[in-house]
């Protein structure tokens, strides 16, 4: 019998984590993400996993990295103010290539902002929030089911590419309740990190293989290696040589950007004949889909391009899908962030890019999106 439930997005995220093999969670409570920690505090002990509430988000992110190094798939969850604190050690996870998952259930900002209302204003923070050059993967669920499946995908990508992955959700998706069919065991393939096949003497913990990803031994398995947030060589020891540092940064970049086919995922909805394409993620994509149905009924050829992986940005696919459209409307719950990325990609294609922005903490109504579409195509 299928396991059908009516649950919250945050609960689906927690269940997805367990399904993916998460066995370590460290967090600090914050609305609207706390249900993820609460549920995992209950579920993890039942599967011999560990849960800990840390003293702040800096510590939680640190503990998650430690947990992953000890060999457990690890996760933390937070929202805006907490995400700001995670950034320090998110950068550490990037440079040390530690697989882990960070959930950001976005709320209104800046600062304490609107704790219980949705926003999508951390999109650029997800990409560039931690200092220094670094690649990042961020996935964007748009339903309760996707809170489950995208969390699983986030773990799989983290393990496959030895990298932190952000689940960039929002308060709408985190707190809404929907029907979900829990996938059966084995229904979604689970990826585990590559382990070294060589002896400890030969092991180079930061030497990429053909896919640019180095195999990762867990602490305690006999490999006794060094991990540092300083720029390091393939053995993991600090280096000064500019050339080697550059090489290291380029490999880490390539690890993500030369494996895009395994990372990117988009929903392309009614775009074949579309004259106007809406670009939206998360909660905004739901209102946009509603708008498209209204518009189609009125004979307006509208479609939706919805990236499930927002970082790295789906440049080629966006260009391809929009090649025949006249207009693109970017709908986002902020004052305009991802629109600049869309403009960059579609810049010289002749497609006109407009935005619908709102930072009120109120979700878009399908009607407001439909009206904006009518406005831009009339011009």
């Amino acid at each position: 019998m299928a396991d059908i439930r009516f649950i919250q997005g945050n609960e689906a995220c927690a269940l997805g984590a367990i399904y993916a093999g998460c066995r370590f969670f460290a967090g600090y409570p914050i609305t609207p993400s706390s249900e993820i920690a609460e549920m995992l505090s209950e579920e993890l002990p039942l599967v011999d996993g560990a849960f800990i509430q840390m003293e702040d988000e800096i510590a939680a992110m640190a503990a998650v990295i430690g947990g992953s190094l000890a060999g457990k798939k690890s996760m933390t969850a937070t929202s805006g103010p907490g995400m700001s604190l995670k950034l320090e050690n998110l950068g550490y996870a990037c440079i040390t290539e530690i697989p882990c998952v960070i959930v950001n259930v976005q709320r209104g900002g800046p600062s304490t902002g609107l704790p219980t209302s949705p926003a999508q204003a951390d999109i650029m923070q997800a990409r560039w929030g931690t200092h220094g050059d670094h690649p990042i993967i961020a996935v964007c669920p748009s339903s309760v089911s996707e809170m489950f499946t995208e969390t699983v995908r986030a773990f799989n990508l983290a393990e496959m590419f030895r990298t932190p992955v952000i689940v960039l959700s929002d308060e709408i998706i985190g707190h809404m309740r929907e029907k979900i069919v829990i996938p059966e065991e084995g229904e979604i393939p689970i990826v585990n990190r590559k382990k070294p096949k060589v002896s400890p003497e030969e092991y180079k913990p930061f030497k990429g293989e053909e896919d640019y990803v180095p195999p990762m031994a867990a602490f305690g398995e006999g490999y006794r290696y060094h991990v540092t947030g300083l720029s390091h060589n393939e053995e993991g020891f600090p280096i000064q040589s500019g050339e080697l540092v550059h090489q290291m940064n380029v490999r880490m970049h390539n690890k993500i950007y030369k494996n895009l086919d395994k990372i990117l995922k988009n929903e392309v909805y009614m775009c074949d004949d579309a004259e106007v394409i809406i670009f939206a993620i998360g909660g905004s994509a739901r209102s946009s889909k509603g708008a498209i149905r209204h518009l189609r009924e009125e004979g307006i050829k509208a479609g939706l391009f919805r990236p499930l992986t927002i970082w790295p940005f789906p440049e080629d696919e966006l260009r391809r899908v929009c090649s025949k459209a006249k207009n693109v409307l970017v709908v986002e719950m902020n004052l305009g962030q991802i629109v600049f990325e869309v403009e960059r990609v579609l810049g010289c294609t002749g497609v006109r890019v407009d935005g619908l922005f709102d930072s009120s903490g109120e979700p878009f109504t399908p009607l407001s999106v439909a009206n904006r579409v009518k406005e831009i195509i009339k011009r």
Binding site: P45, A62, G66, G67, G71, G220, H226
Partner: protein, 273 residues
């Protein structure tokens, strides 16, 4: 038989970055001897540090080593330990690392009583960044950010650890090398969170600026020798007599429920329901 240090060092990482006269090396050797005495399996030892001169130590040690971000070592170590309680966690920190930027993590690690050992290489200064004042800089002392003398009394690492609930707390100095080894050893075999305040000397960034007390790094060791008072002797003295003294000894050695064990008990209980 003495310890074979070669067995524990990553000799290809030599020369180390420490200045001549720096006593972080003395603490490192005491730590190696303590680990050797405790007969820990090298593959199961994880040495974690933050950022600073002291925090460079793990890079030279042939264990699983984790050089993290400034102040956060204890939080990383907590994750490692809870995810695999079979590992032996040793954390090394400078004073700035441990009680300034890492103060919050310090308090909560003490309170959690998770089985790990923290060695604070307390040289009363920010060595790595060029000698700025630290929370443990003595009142009136000169640093590059307290050029007219440091204001306020220093943080006492031992009192902080005691107040926050660490179950093994000791202090000694880089001069007292045998005591240092013995306290670190006791900390390692202690079941629970142990803190060893290891007074260290940084002539380059601290001593040199405070010539009224120190003309050389040897003077700094002599200062430790001449001004250390054992805790039992200190109890007989009044506060005025103890001004400027370093009180050494074991301040607490008690057994309290350990975090990982309590967690695992909880798991067993709910699973047998």
């Amino acid at each position: 038989m003495g310890v074979n240090y070669h067995e524990y060092l990553r000799e290809k990482m030599m020369p180390h970055i420490w200045c001549s006269g720096c006593t972080h090396g003395i603490v490192t050797k005491a730590l190696i001897r303590a680990i050797d005495k405790a007969k820990l399996d090298k593959n199961k030892v994880v040495v974690v540090s933050g950022i600073g001169c002291a925090s460079r130590m793990p890079g030279y040690l042939d264990f699983n080593t984790l050089h993290t971000t400034h102040g956060r070592a204890l939080a990383f170590a907590t994750g490692v330990k809870l995810a695999n309680p079979d590992l032996h966690l040793i954390v090394v920190s400078g004073d700035g690392d441990a009680v300034a930027i890492g103060g919050n993590h310090f308090i909560h690690a003490c309170n959690r009583n998770i089985d790990m050992t923290l060695v604070v290489l307390n040289n009363n200064i920010y060595g790595m960044t060029g000698g700025q004042r630290s929370p443990t800089t003595y009142e009136g002392d000169i640093s590059s950010t307290s050029v007219y003398g440091s204001i306020g009394s220093p943080v006492d690492v031992v009192n902080l650890a005691l107040g926050a609930g660490a179950t093994f707390v000791a202090r000694t100095t880089s001069y007292h090398v045998q005591q240092l080894e013995s306290y670190i050893y006791s900390g390692i075999v202690h079941k629970g969170f142990s803190v060893i305040d290891a007074v260290s000397a940084c002539y380059t960034a601290y001593g040199r600026r405070n010539k009224q007390r120190y003309k050389s790094s040897v003077d700094m060791l002599n200062y430790m020798k001449n001004n250390s008072v054992n805790i039992s002797a200190a109890r007989e003295k009044n506060p005025d007599e103890l001004k400027g003294k370093i009180i050494v000894g074991i301040f607490r050695d008690s057994i309290e429920p350990e975090y990982c064990e309590e967690y695992s008990k909880m798991v067993n209980k709910i699973k047998s329901r």
